[in-house]
């Protein structure tokens, strides 16, 4: 009997600490599989965020650095400039990347920093217990938006992929989801493409993964996937926003 599917060697043995059904786990796996399949894992250097994925440094089977909240793109820049041939990636949540780290991601993109960012958009601060993120939907409740996000008070959610796609050196930008197997397969393709773009030295690459937080959404994992599909995707349309073919 042949193995059809098993844990990639891109992942360490340690079980994830994520809540049951949290899609962070799926995304970790896709990143690890991509690195392994592209033969990059032994040369890869990853940067973990501050957020639920803070312990990502224990899960990937490659060298890792734990960055300050939001600063992963700057940290990764430091690493990549020292090791220009390594596959350098950041793994960041929406609080980390879109809120406190907004300047760092915009500037990594501007510089065309040859790194790959995996951006996990779950429309909430998971780690700290469900506060509003820049990506929280209008009307969505959060502990710091207990009456639901009010667009007149707190504005409308940031669409990071669309915003970064205006930056010339952000050469690969795609939004994917992991709410079913088909989308998981597509998500992996995008992640692989992003790493390939990096290794070709073309510029900055980012994959935004629309993700769940069953715990702080107050939903079962199955309900959460449904909510994602019905509420997140309409505001965060999936698709490719930039790719190298477009870039002259």
């Amino acid at each position: 009997m042949a193995v059809v599917f098993e844990k990639t060697r891109g992942l360490a043995e340690k079980p994830f600490h994520y809540c049951p059904g949290c899609t962070h786990g799926i995304i970790h796996r896709l990143v690890a599989e991509s690195l392994d399949e592209l033969n990059l894992i032994d040369d890869a250097i990853g940067v973990a965020p501050v957020g639920c994925a803070v312990f990502a440094y224990d899960y990937f089977n490659c060298d890792m650095q734990e960055a300050a909240h939001g600063r992963a793109p700057a940290t990764a820049t430091g690493i990549k400039r020292v090791h220009p041939k390594s596959a350098v990636f950041t793994y960041q949540g929406d609080g980390d990347l879109a809120s406190i780290g907004a300047a760092e991601i915009v500037h990594a993109a501007m510089r065309g920093e040859k790194i790959t960012t995996i951006f996990v958009n779950n429309a909430i601060y998971g780690m700290t217990g469900g506060q509003m993120a820049p990506t929280t939907l209008v009307g969505q409740k959060a502990t710091t938006a207990p009456y639901g996000r009010d667009e007149n008070h707190a504005g409308m959610p940031l669409r990071i992929s669309e915003m970064l796609a205006t930056i010339p050196k952000a050469v690969f930008v795609e939004r994917v989801s992991v709410h079913d197997v088909k989308h998981i397969i597509q998500a992996k393709k995008a992640i692989k493409k992003a790493f390939q773009t990096q290794m070709e030295g073309k510029g900055f690459s980012l994959v935004e993964v629309v993700s769940t937080c069953p715990t702080n959404w107050g939903k079962t994992p199955i309900e959460a996937l449904k909510w994602l599909q019905e509420n997140m995707i309409p505001y965060y349309p999936l698709g490719n926003f930039r790719n190298t073919e477009e870039v002259k």
Partner: protein, 355 residues
Amino acid sequence: MAKELWKGNEAVAEAAIKAGCRFFFGYPITPQNEIPEYMAMKMPQIDGCFLQAESEVAAINMVYGAAGAGARVMTSSSSPGISLKQEGITYIAGAELPCVIVNMVRGGPGLGSIQPAQSDYFQACKGGGHGDYRLIVLAPASVQEAVDLVQEAFDIADQYRNPVMILGDGMMGQMMEPVEFKEVKKRSLPEKTWATVGTKGKRKPNVVNSLYIDAADCHNHNVDLFKKYAEIEKNEVRVDTYNVENAEIVFVAYGTTARIVKNAINSLAKEGIKAGLIRPVTLWPYPYKAIEEAAEKASVKAFMSVEMSMGQMVEDVKLGANGKKPVYFYGKAGGAFPTPKGIAEEAKKILGGAK
């Protein structure tokens, strides 16, 4: 090698390059702009990397990344920019990464002035960032000493896996003096087996990190750090003295202020007043012992800490003197500086009062 005239900032940059620094991440701010500008000019010629970061916050986190990746790396800024780096600095200290950080201090607080000051002493030496950690803080008093200390700073940083700060000021950065780039004695340094350079499939992943989620682990990490700090305190204290023998009053001053104090000492000497100087070269570890020994001297009637601040190092002088002799303070802040005359007069007042 013959002496050449160098501007402080450029000399510091060149010294870093001579010490093998090949990565510099910075952000413009007066009065240290010549450091990034020099790096921008030179790094491309020697296969190094100068990058202007989007902010001081980004710069220090680039330093974190590069240091974690095993490089010799430096950043520089001046007071407001250094305040912004505090989170990054404590991360670097917590993760035990070696790097060199230059602060050409200017007047504060807030936007303050852009003139030379020494009002970031507390921030540098006691912890501007959160948590228990220490920077090794070197305070050169001449461009030549800056050059020598910067070169050694990289070795010190690597030896202890600890960030080292060069605490200068606008005067140090802007002045020109003759400099000789001497061959600095290299320390024998441990290999950076902990750096994130890729596993190459040959070892377990290296992790650069300052998170210890379990309180007991975090406590132990702190205890380990403080063992290292004790080691540094034992090995690395540096202090320079001038005319302390038989001095009635001992000035304590560092950096450019110490030079002003020397002028004051010489002019006091002309009036027959014996004054001496203790000049800490390392601000942390602080030369408490030198102060203590002076405090025990019968001739010494008082100490006077002279600073371009409203009085910061004076607390360390007091800790060193430990009540054995009175400790006074004299200083100017916000970019103003004490004059030899002002210092001498203040000293006479104190000695008069002490009689």
